[in-house]
Amino acid sequence: MALETTGKEERLGRVGRGFVGEVLLGRLGWTLVSFLVLLGVWLVVAAVLQSRLFPGPMDVLATLSREAATGALFHHVGVTLARVAAAFVVAMAIGSAIGIALGASRSADRFFDTWLIFFLNLPALVTIILCYVWFGLTELAAIVAVSVNKIPNVAVTVREGARSLSRDLTEMAAVYRLGWWKTLRHVTVPQLAPFFAAAARGGLALVWKIVLVVELLGRSDGVGHQLHIAFQLFDVSMILAYAIAFILVVQAIELGVLQPIEAHVNRWRR
């Protein structure tokens, strides 16, 4: 279906309006136009205000390249990214295990449901403060705080999937004595793939925002820490530069890592 449509558009584009016209009228064109309009609005507002507290795109770009030139940008973005990755992996692993267990056992689900609701509603800031109080201002505390915030979300999403596992396939695995590892790997996990994907999507967005707060409160490097310093100096240009850099990185991960993985996992679908 999708392939057919692309093919048709390509033919139409070549004959009718040429390559540039096709790009401008396609989805890419819409993204480009909307981005340019946003940039334009920003440029105009900044030019009208003429304030150090509302720098224009050119100022921010200058700050961005200055930070990049000293290497500070890459250092801090890298450190933050490492924390995001660690917390993300821990949260996905533990959250998935809890979700599968709760989906499989009704009594466990009934018992732990209250716990889950408690942790789901616990404000991120509270977890962060408590972790720093209990474990000190350490890297471990930072990762634990972020993970604890994300684990309940992953667990709830994966539990939904584990509740709807195919009984037919479970019976097949039992009769053929696949054992728990083969069953998990070939029967259970593939059925949960869409739920893992949903948890990962939402997870990445949530985790990196919480990591910034964790860094702001108790770390001496990372994007959150840089934002903290910029805040004290009222350096808005710096704040926007780091924010934009990180948005770009997260988008790159979404497009370059998560989406290809999803496409690979879904290759069997018709």
Partner: protein, 239 residues
């Protein structure tokens, strides 16, 4: 495979569901099955044949009675009414999954895939294949582990006649090549006679064994429709 397989079900009752009362489906069933025989269990639809198979497979443990599969750790294969293949694994991966220590391109897997005529489709995902081909894959999966006991629950329903027939012939061929104890459930009496060395008919509510016949047909006779129909008429006392 020293001892015969023994099954005794004193009683199998389904608990009440919503407004339906408890249902006693099977009672006083005793079966002794010699190693290497092909037993077809037949009877009207919905009389509890599949339940009996599930009890034998260990999938249903809430019954009174006993199951002795004839050895301490028998290799069991089950071909279900639907193929029950993993849609996210290729035909080859689905078949390799059930044997211990399978390596990519395992000769055991390649051989059985060749026998069921799926060599071309070995790397295809099941949902892209016809139901007949999916059933072939399920048949290959059942035979690849050289099972001691093979349970089959109406494995050829909802296929057109020629496809079902070719699958039956394939089953006879595989079973002749590597005899194993088969318990095959069907409500189709022609299919029963075509495949079985022994037919066990269950009926009633709760269902119990009402007929137990040996079918003595050669492989060539089984391929002959006239012969099969004649035996069917005799065995089931049809006019």
């Amino acid at each position: 495979m020293a001892r015969p397989l023994r099954l005794r079900i004193d009683e199998k009752t389904f608990p009440p569901v919503a407004d339906r009362p408890a249902q006693k489906v099977l009672a006083d069933i005793e079966l002794t099955i010699a190693p290497g025989s092909f037993v077809v269990l037949t009877g009207p639809s919905g009389c509890g044949k599949s339940t009996l198979l599930n009890v034998l497979a260990g999938l249903d443990e809430s019954f009174t009675g006993s199951v002795d599969l004839g050895s301490d750790d028998p290799k069991l294969a089950f071909m279900f009414q639907t193929p029950r293949l993993l849609p996210w694994r290729t035909v080859e991966e689905n078949i390799a999954l059930v044997i211990e220590g399978a390596v990519p391109g395992d000769p055991r897997v390649a051989e059985i895939i060749g026998r069921v005529g799926l060599t071309e489709a070995a790397n295809a995902y099941p949902e892209r294949l016809s139901l007949g081909m999916q059933r072939r894959a399920a048949l290959a999966r059942a035979f690849v582990l050289a099972p001691d006991i093979l349970l089959m629950d109406e494995p050829f329903v909802s296929l057109d006649d020629p496809t079902a027939d070719s699958l039956r012939r394939l089953l006879i061929e595989l079973w002749t090549r590597r005899p194993t104890t088969v318990l095959f459930v069907t409500h189709d009496r022609t299919e029963a006679v075509m495949l079985a060395t022994r037919v066990v008919r269950v009926d009633g509510r709760p269902a119990t064994v009402v007929q137990d016949e040996v079918i003595d047909l050669s492989v060539t006779d089984r391929a002959n429709r006239e012969r099969v129909l004649a035996v069917r008429a005799r065995v089931f006392a049809e006019a």
